[in-house]
């Protein structure tokens, strides 16, 4: 009985700590994004709140929390209320399944990878429902676009991850990392180069980030599916987007870049290599946002269905063939 309670206590403590740490990461990710993009566009970026603007995310959060929560008259209320929460929960829960270091994972289930895929397919609901419930043309079009995009790119992403599963022989994320450490290249990035490419492109599309941010294309749709939201509910969509980036980067690190393993052990900081890799991928996300222009909608669909899915299939086939021969 005491075992149960102490287990429960440690589980809850770990969950709360992980939640706080990832929320802080999400908050400072927005700051990093603004600073890095400013550097790339030869501006200064936020520099007024606190030293070097370091308190900017906190100020933003306070501002959004105290703003009025406007509910337009013609919306479908229950759905309108619940949509941002669906978005955030589906985007954020995935982090609980990722092993941060050797023996630290909040929820170590055997089908971890499948569960993350399930969550990412559920996150389409937040987008579709907010688009529909807002009862606005812009939001509706944004929602339609986003759902079509998320559904198409999910297939390519699953195909890329399936090759990893085939190589590791497990759906447990910890086992996938262990299989990578025991493999000849130490990471799956080298044998799964095509898979990694497919995964990263579809991960950017899944998070609705530039160059695939058509659901929120400002020039056409004002702000896309969350155009009618304000205050805290708007902030929840924002949080969901950045949380999605964080989870996708963590998943990429776990499945392709060798998770917590690094070239040498860093004493007392078991998560050092994991965090370094995640930061590098997050920088990559921000970098391509500053560099690449937005795709046109038909180009986006062409890329998804005619390039990434066939590539993913070929990669899967080759992986299976190589595994069969050796």
């Amino acid at each position: 009985m005491e075992d149960l309670w102490s287990n429960l206590f440690w589980f809850l403590a770990g969950t709360v700590i992980l939640l706080i740490v990832s929320l802080l990461h999400v908050a400072y990710l927005t700051y990093a994004e603004r600073k890095i993009i400013a550097r790339m566009q030869q501006r200064l970026g936020p520099n007024r709140v606190g030293p070097r603007g370091l308190l900017q995310p906190i100020a933003d959060m306070l501002k959004l929390l105290t703003k009025e929560d406007i509910i337009p008259a013609q919306v479908d209320r229950p759905v309108f209320y619940i949509a941002p929460f669906i978005s955030l929960v589906c985007a954020g829960t995935g982090i609980a399944l990722v092993p941060l270091w050797e023996n630290f994972v909040i929820s170590n289930i055997n089908v971890g990878l499948l569960f993350i895929l399930a969550l990412s397919s559920l996150s389409a609901y937040g987008v579709i429902l907010s688009g529909w419930a807002s009862n606005s043309r812009y939001a509706f079009l944004g929602g339609l676009r986003a759902s079509a995009q998320v559904i198409s790119y999910e297939i390519a992403m699953s195909l890329a991850l399936l090759s990893v599963v085939l190589m590791a022989g497990s759906l447990n994320l910890g086992d996938i990392v262990r299989a990578q450490i025991n493999s000849p290249f130490k990471v799956y990035l080298i044998p799964q180069l095509i898979g990694f490419f497919v995964f990263i492109v579809s991960a950017v599309a899944e998070c609705n980030r530039t160059p695939f941010d058509l659901p929120e294309a400002e020039t056409e749709l004002v702000a896309g599916y969350f155009v009618e939201y304000s205050g805290m509910r708007f902030a929840l969509f924002y949080l969901a987007e950045y949380f999605g980036m964080l989870v996708m980067s963590a998943l990429a690190v776990t499945c392709f870049l060798g998770g917590w393993a690094g070239p040498f052990e860093v004493p007392y900081v078991p998560f050092f290599w994991f965090v370094v890799k995640v930061y590098a991928l997050l920088f990559f996300y921000i970098w391509i946002r500053a560099t690449l222009p937005r795709y046109r909608y038909d180009q986006l669909m062409d890329l998804g269905w005619k390039v990434l899915i066939p590539l993913g299939l070929i990669n899967l086939f080759l992986t299976a063939l190589i595994k069969l021969i050796f």
Binding site: I109, L114, L117, S121, Y125, L129
Partner: protein
């Protein structure tokens, strides 16, 4: 141990209750989008019921296939319906007697079934040809699927492929004589 069993039945009770309530509300709701959302609630609870029964794989598949794919497609269809007209229909008024008759018939059928199962105590532990606790759920499914039921599995794959080809055939562009 006692607490464990109580907790299990408590969780099962909650899941079953939520599933029944959301299903009934889904049938009663006039707005198709609300119906789909309620079915989603039902499906998610069903997935967690599978999880409590120890089949993690089925839970993930349930979420991916039903919640992630099937219901999203339904939602797409509902998007294209004129909802303002739909919601003004009043249901359950025409042929009310006939509907209640069918309902009573099904209720009676269910009651008879329950009586046969519980009343006659014909309730036995299923005998499995293997010990399910030996390996995880996923391993057993893969083992049986690919060793004993490979042919049916492949046939299902071919049938689905036919369905996909049929869909592509239906939406293809037909060239009229002027264009050609």
């Amino acid at each position: 141990m006692g607490l464990g069993i109580e907790l299990n039945s408590l969780i099962f009770g909650y899941l079953a209750f939520a599933m029944v309530v959301s299903s009934v509300l889904a049938v009663l709701s006039k707005n198709p989008v609300h119906t789909i959302l309620l079915v989603l609630v039902m499906v998610v609870h069903q997935a967690f019921l599978l999880l409590t029964l120890g089949s993690e794989f089925l839970m993930a598949v349930q979420l991916i296939v039903y919640a992630g794919a099937v219901l999203v497609l339904f939602l797409f269809v509902v998007y294209l319906i004129n909802l303002r007209k739909e919601t003004k229909h009043s249901f359950f008024v025409k042929r009310f007697c006939l509907c209640s008759l069918v309902f009573l018939l099904f209720l009676g059928f269910m009651g008879v079934n329950l009586y046969l199962i519980y009343g006659a105590k014909k309730f036995e532990q299923a005998v499995l040809p293997f010990n399910p606790l030996e390996k995880d759920n996923l391993w057993w499914i893969a083992h049986y699927l690919f060793n004993y039921y490979l042919l049916p599995f492949e046939i299902i794959g071919v049938i689905l492929l036919v369905a996909v080809l049929g869909a592509v055939f239906l939406v293809r562009k037909v060239k009229t004589t002027e264009e050609a």
